[in-house]
């Protein structure tokens, strides 16, 4: 996805953004997801496989994942012109998970480009697995094949227990993702990335949700900026909020 510092511009007349000059990065929530997988591997052994779907540019994120410590990766390659909807993405990811095998599946709680927060649960349904979303704390019992997770609610949190395998979607606070070190970046270059053309999966890509148009937020009218004595400006601001904006 585009770096969060990106100023979004819309391709005129089309329901998508202008992509020239954009720096592409791993979704921030996916860093928490991957980090949790790596920590479990360090504790209990096993293998961490990164699965990503998208055009050639997602190789960047895949390399970052491998440099953080993932063992190998599967890249489901799509063509750059089409943005797939969450349903389609989830079917493809679920197929790859099925092919690779899993004890746990981690995704981000949402992608901070389309902000759908759907792909994790949709993968879970496609594979017939339970899910725990927006997880900020996770305990895994590999012998008992169960997990216990804390998930964030509005002004509260809840503890959820589920059998493995389970899909976990990661929220900030779950852990502190590591930075790839230089030696690990070098090592990552030799790790396996399996390329799977999306077309080979036999998934129909007619979307269930179609983006018809994309617009930018309306510009705000020029601000009223007050300067000078703190008490006077505070009084004037309170007056404006009361008499002009009618909000207090």
């Amino acid at each position: 996805m585009p770096d969060t510092a990106t100023q979004i511009r819309v391709q005129p007349g089309e329901p998508r953004i202008q992509t020239d000059g954009i720096k592409w990065v791993m979704n921030p929530y996916d860093e928490f997801a991957l980090e949790e997988g790596l920590r479990l591997k360090e504790r209990f052994g096993g293998e961490v496989v990164v699965v990503a779907l998208g055009p050639t540019r997602v190789e960047e994120a895949i390399r970052q994942g491998l440099a953080m410590g993932a063992d190998r990766a599967v890249h489901i390659v799509t063509d750059a012109a089409t943005d797939l909807d969450p349903w389609t993405v989830a079917q493809a990811l679920a197929q790859a998970c099925q092919a690779e095998g899993y004890d746990l599946i981690f995704t981000g709680k949402q992608a901070v480009d389309d902000d759908q927060a759907q792909v994790g649960p949709l993968v879970a349904v496609a594979l017939g697995l339970p899910q725990i979303t927006v997880v900020i704390q996770l305990t895994v019992d590999p012998e008992g094949r169960r997990v216990r997770a804390e998930r964030e609610l509005e002004g509260a949190s809840e503890i959820v227990e589920a059998p493995m395998p389970v899909v976990i979607t990661a929220q900030r606070g779950l852990n502190e993702p590591r930075y790839p070190t230089l030696p690990n970046i070098m090592k990552a270059k030799r790790k396996e990335v399996k390329a799977v053309p999306f077309a080979d999966l036999g998934i129909q890509s007619s979307p269930l949700v179609r983006v018809e148009s994309l617009t930018l937020p309306p510009a705000r009218p020029a601000a009223k900026i007050l300067t000078g004595d703190p008490a006077e400006t505070a009084r004037e601001l309170a007056r404006l909020l009361h008499e002009e904006a009618h909000v207090i």
């Binding site: 349904v125 964030e152 509005e154 505070a234 207090i248």
Partner: protein, 325 residues
């Protein structure tokens, strides 16, 4: 043909969040056909009169023991069963932790298109329902069409006025063929955080602090303003990262996306990731001692000044106005 709208909502001891009333009000303005509210848990039936008042023609209250502890997979099966029984044109969920957990699960079971976190749902010219939803955390807005026969939406709190429709809110008994012993992910405990403040994503007014507040203990200055306004408290990311406030305060592209009537950005510079999360605010008020801070370009009102002088004066002024009113 599928008709009416099903509104799924959680409740606690017979009380729902305001977003439930917002959703039934919205559904009522859109639906030919009945608006049915679906609630879960002990005392769910008690929600019926109020849900009716704001737009629910009927209420399904799943108050049996299996529905007294939330389970994403279990509740999704129940929603699926209710949908198959009532055949609604659309299903609404609140875009809250509860609804955002459940809605995609139901979408997966029904193979129905879901538009998440919508700020608008409308009737399109072709007669179907469409929606507007923020993308890139509010840096842009997407108008979306749902291509499946049934349309699912999660609705952001605070985007729809609660209106009185005086509907029956009649309790509707449905016998569901759902096997509770198959529920897999089950809530075993809830940790409430003691707070008398409104929740950020539902708050009408938010007072948010940035690195300009300099230290955890200085947050008191903002708490006082929030008290005067009846506002919720928020923060920029670094303030949460420093541990001055809980992570749940963090607003922006990688935190909470908020849409209050008024957003007070105090000692916040206005980085693009922060602005993304507040673009849905009706009014933005900036208080910052740097006249060139980018936040002033995003604001409706601003004061250039030292927050430690301005904020207490503002809190006093607001208390005075409220007293006179």
């Amino acid at each position: 043909m599928a008709r009416g709208i099903l509104v799924a909502t959680n409740q606690n001891g017979g009380r729902v969040r305001r977003v439930a009333y917002e959703m039934v009000s919205l559904a009522q303005t859109l639906a030919p056909g009945a608006v049915t509210a679906l609630t879960f848990g002990a005392e769910a039936e008690k929600t019926a009169p109020e849900l009716g008042r704001f737009g629910a023609d009927q209420v399904v209250a799943l108050n049996a023991p299996p529905y007294q502890q939330y389970s994403s997979d279990g509740f999704a099966l129940a929603v699926q069963a209710v949908v198959e029984r009532l055949d609604p044109e659309a299903v609404f969920f609140p875009a809250t932790a509860w609804g955002k957990d459940l809605a995609p699960r139901v979408a997966g079971l029904l193979k129905a298109g879901l538009a998440s976190d919508c700020i608008e749902v409308h009737r399109r010219e072709d007669g179907r329902l469409g929606a507007v939803r923020p993308v890139y955390a509010g840096k842009a807005f997407a108008t979306v069409a749902i291509e499946s026969p049934r349309a699912l939406f999660s609705i952001r709190p605070n985007i729809q006025a609660v209106t009185t429709h005086d509907r029956a809110g009649a309790l509707l008994d449905v016998n569901l063929d759902v096997d509770a012993s198959q529920f897999q992910a089950v809530v075993v405990d809830v940790k409430a955080q003691a707070s008398d403040k409104p929740e950020l994503t539902e708050a009408d007014i938010i007072v948010s602090g940035g690195r300009g507040i300099k230290a955890a203990e200085n947050f008191r200055v903002l708490e006082d303003l929030a008290d005067a306004l009846g506002a919720a408290l928020g923060s920029s990311r670094p303030v949460a990262d420093e541990g001055w406030v809980p992570h749940s305060y963090h607003i922006g592209q990688t935190g909470k996306v908020v849409s209050p009537t008024v957003y007070f950005a105090v000692g916040i510079s206005g980085a693009i990731q922060h602005l993304a999360g507040i673009s849905g605010s009706k009014y933005i008020v900036a208080i910052n001692n740097d006249p060139d801070a980018p936040i002033f370009k995003a604001a409706n009102y601003g004061i250039v000044g030292d927050l430690f002088q301005v904020v207490p004066a503002l809190a006093a002024e607001i208390r005075r106005i409220k007293q006179e009113a």
